[in-house]
């Protein structure tokens, strides 16, 4: 790629699986040369659905497609001696090795940080693990759900009268993959300055903990163990919804006041809109949303009384109507969207958010989400679709490493590639 990209010229060996695959993809989006290393026969992540037209097949996993763009793919069994040798040859050419194996796995193969340093002294090895590469839980068996549970984010979510609930699209590995990328970039910056590589330890549990918006700080500051409240929130004595019913679904609104943060301004504009429809009682129009509003002193009765006209108004409008008007009027509100709502959002279309990518072997062109940010220069895009199993074995093993076709045939039959 001769195009100007953020990380063009760097090479990443991607040994992640599950949601952590997004890490390798982000490097690829940024222009790095990402080589995804899969076990012979293909990555187990190819068995994760949903699938293209519901055909459960390792070359038709939408999970694989969506988190392995911008990577070339090779197969390699690093547990075999031949595989280790080949891996080390690749490490010599790489800047970053990104992995999400159980702690100790690569060390056991002689391919941990110490082993890789012998091959390339300035290598950056980034280990994404559920709890850390060391410590009392580092050996724990883990999954997206249990890592989520360990991070408080599970406990504080869900309806109070039922068990806590997680985010139904498993996101522990995904978020962990993102941390793997930025932590690697810290190390890459350091290497650019000092010439030194290092081992990056990127555990998911403390990173996911941040996603609670510091709920545990309520314990530190106030000895208050914030409970789950479902679609409600609480301001000291009064509980109030933040997900409201509307005519055809739900919307998320912040209604209230106090000085600063724009909530009072927003609520004032909300009342003005309601008034245009004749749905703002006089007492509501007279409210001072700044100095006259103190959520910390409100009783439940006060809160319910204040919110009632808003709830009535919201029930007269659809998600789409509310989405349009509140955006225009800068009222803190947004629809509770599902995948269809998001695809139909004309704002995303106006920003050319959606990308397409050809899949010749499916004889189809698929729609993908756009990049995670827009750069004014060196923009990110889908340079290539996710690789087929072993798709770049020839390109990398033969053309780059100089292995012969005969050698590849032996390695294939030996289960190395």
């Amino acid at each position: 790629m001769q195009e100007d990209t953020m990380l063009g010229g760097y090479r990443v060996l991607d040994m992640t699986e599950g949601g952590c695959l997004i890490g390798g993809q982000m490097f690829g989006d940024l222009g790095a040369d990402v080589i995804k290393i899969e076990p012979p026969g293909g990555s187990p992540s190819r068995n994760i659905g949903p699938f293209y037209k519901d055909i459960p097949h390792p070359e038709k996993s939408l999970f694989w497609f969506n988190y392995s763009c911008n990577k070339r793919g090779i197969t390699l069994d690093i547990e075999k001696e031949d595989g280790k040798e080949i891996f080390k040859r690749l490490v010599k050419t790489a800047d970053i090795v990104l992995e999400s194996f159980p702690p100790g796995y690569m060390d056991g193969l002689g391919l941990g940080y110490a082993g890789l340093c012998e091959v390339k002294p300035d290598i950056i090895l980034t280990s994404i693990t559920p709890y850390g590469i060391e410590g009392p839980k580092s050996h724990y068996k883990a999954s997206d759900l249990t890592t989520w549970a360990a991070s408080v984010i599970h406990y504080i979510c869900g309806d109070p009268d039922r068990p806590p609930t997680w985010l139904s699209w498993p996101s522990a590995g995904l978020n962990g993959g993102i941390q793997g990328v930025f932590a690697s970039l810290f190390a890459l910056w350091h290497r650019e300055i000092s010439g030194e590589g290092q081992h990056v330890d990127a555990p998911i549990q403390p990173y996911l903990l941040q996603h609670t918006t510091g709920s545990y700080w309520f314990w530190e500051c106030l000895q208050f163990n914030l409970p789950r409240m479902g679609r409600f929130s609480r301001y000291y004595a009064a509980t109030y919804p933040y997900i409201y019913d509307c005519k055809d679904g739900y919307v998320n609104c912040t209604i209230g006041g106090g000085a600063g943060a724009g909530v009072g301004d927003s609520t004032e504009r909300f009342v003005k809109w309601m008034d245009e429809d004749g749905m703002a009682p006089e007492w509501l129009k007279k409210m001072d949303w700044f100095l006259g509003y103190d959520g910390s002193k409100m009783t439940q009765e006060d809160m319910d009384r204040i919110l009632e006209p808003f709830q009535k108004f919201l029930l007269t409008k659809t998600k789409a109507e509310l989405s349009e008007e509140t955006a225009k009027r800068s009222i803190i509100c947004g629809p509770v969207s599902d995948a269809r709502d998001i695809h139909e959002d004309h704002h995303l279309k106006a920003r050319d958010f959606w990308a397409t990518c050809e899949h010749p072997e499916l004889d189809d062109t698929l729609t993908y989400r756009g990049p995670f940010v827009k750069f004014s220069q060196a923009p990110m895009k889908i340079f290539r679709r996710a690789p087929l199993i072993g798709e770049h074995n020839e390109e990398i093993y033969e053309k780059e490493l100089g292995l012969s076709r005969q050698e590849l045939i032996v390695l294939k039959q030996g289960g190395v590639i």
Partner: protein
């Protein structure tokens, strides 16, 4: 001693709330110099949202401030005054920050002459990081919101809760964090490119889009298969048992996830192989999925007789993924978190001793130099004299002219918006 990792990297942080500030804070934790431009006239949600130490409602007593703005220097300006905006431009031209960040509604910085185009004229290689709800342009770019709104528009709220009820949603500002992480990736990548090529960039982050990027797959499921993925409690299509089960005690739960036949065998062994585990209704994955309500009920009947900690230990001993659903108190006692020293006791002038947090990621050679969150406007004198070489008289004039805001301004803040 400052961490050497990002020593010399300079960041002008004009962003508020969670997304932009968090990543920049971690850069500060690892040695970058981060100047945060705040104001007494219009408090950042992070300063006024709490939780407030011992209920003292003051911007220096905010727990969230410690999460998002540790390891930074605070100056306080009245950006409505042209002199304040000139000061920002002077910081850019004289201090030469690598990165400038902002999270205002699109148009505000332009009105102030502090947008990317204006700043690029002063410093052509600036990395200008704009982050807001729906991006710098587009029909909804003026939508106002916090992470709670992003949760909903990005599809996360819809995907949280039970299939037979309205969504429970994700709590607080969950969506701020996928944005924070992806935004940090963008800033660091741009920094590396800036050093190599001398080029800058304008980063337009729509927090909505960042979250869509991470969620990704449900969107593809609709585009390709016409299916609208929805919430399903704690279930996963290809594992059972998979859920949060009730344990002994008040509001105690354990998460258990069984994927393979081998793990199922181990699970049965852990719970003492009761008769029901031999029932063909539970012997295969398919069977367990078909009878999942009954399965969850039976598992819950067992877990109810144990503490969550016991279940976790018993399951882990036999290689089954399980973990207590840690609450806000548990996390401080978690042995793994303690091993990493995640909560570090520091002294803060306003609140005394507090358990602050070091970055969640670490390095074999580089150490952090995390320091306490600043008081509001704590570093006005320090920054203006050390970084801009201003004299005491010049600085006094700025106070007199109301260019620098003070505690007295806290009382007069109100509705005047940007």
């Amino acid at each position: 001693m400052a961490s050497s990792m990002l020593a010399g990297v300079k960041i002008l942080d004009m962003a508020t709330a969670g997304t932009g500030p968090l990543g920049l804070r971690w850069m500060g934790d690892y040695g970058a110099t981060v100047i945060k431009v705040e104001t007494h006239l219009r408090l950042d949600m992070v300063r006024m949202g709490g939780p407030f130490y011992k209920l003292v409602t003051h911007p220096d007593h905010s727990g969230w401030e410690m999460v998002f703005n540790s390891s930074k220097y605070s100056i306080t300006l009245n950006l409505n005054k042209p002199q304040a905006r000139d000061l920002v431009r002077r910081l850019v031209s004289e201090w030469q920050p690598h990165v400038m960040a902002e999270s205002f509604r699109p148009g505000v910085m332009k009105r102030w002459g502090l947008d990317y185009e204006s700043i690029e004229k002063i410093k052509p290689d600036i990395i200008y990081y704009s982050t807001c709800l729906e991006g710098q342009y587009g029909p909804h770019s003026q939508r106002l919101g916090f992470g709670t709104v992003t949760n909903s528009i990005s599809g996360a709220s819809h995907l949280a809760g039970w299939p037979d009820r309205p969504p429970a949603g994700m709590p607080l500002a969950y969506a701020d964090f996928p944005s924070a992480g992806t935004g940090l990736v963008a800033v660091l990548s741009a920094l590396i490119r800036q050093r190599r090529t001398g080029k800058g960039v304008h980063i337009d982050q729509s927090q909505y889009e960042s979250n869509l990027y991470v969620l990704g797959c449900p969107l593809m499921d609709y585009a390709v298969n016409g299916r609208i993925m929805t919430r399903n409690g704690n279930r996963l299509p290809y594992a059972a048992p998979h859920g949060a089960y009730p344990c002994m005690g008040d509001d105690r739960w354990v998460a258990i996830a069984v994927f393979t036949g081998e793990e199922w065998e181990s699970f049965c062994h852990v719970i003492g192989s009761p008769e029901w585990t031999g029932d063909p209704r539970f012997s295969t994955l398919q069977a367990r999925k078909s009878n999942e309500d009954e399965l969850d009920r039976l598992v819950g009947e067992w877990t109810m007789n144990h503490t969550a900690e016991e279940v976790e230990a018993m399951m882990q001993a036999e290689g089954v993924a399980a973990h207590v659903l840690e609450n806000n108190m548990d996390i401080y006692e978690d042995p793994q978190m303690k091993h990493y020293g995640h909560f570090r006791e520091i002294t803060h002038p306003a609140v005394g001793t507090v358990r602050s947090e070091i970055p969640p990621f670490r390095f074999s050679k580089s150490t952090d130099s995390h320091f306490r969150a600043p008081l509001l406007g704590e570093h006005n004198h320090y920054v203006l004299s050390q970084f801009l070489g201003m004299s005491d008289d010049e600085i006094s004039d700025l106070y007199a002219d109301g260019v620098i805001t003070t505690e007295a301004d806290l009382l007069s803040r109100g509705k005047k918006e940007d």
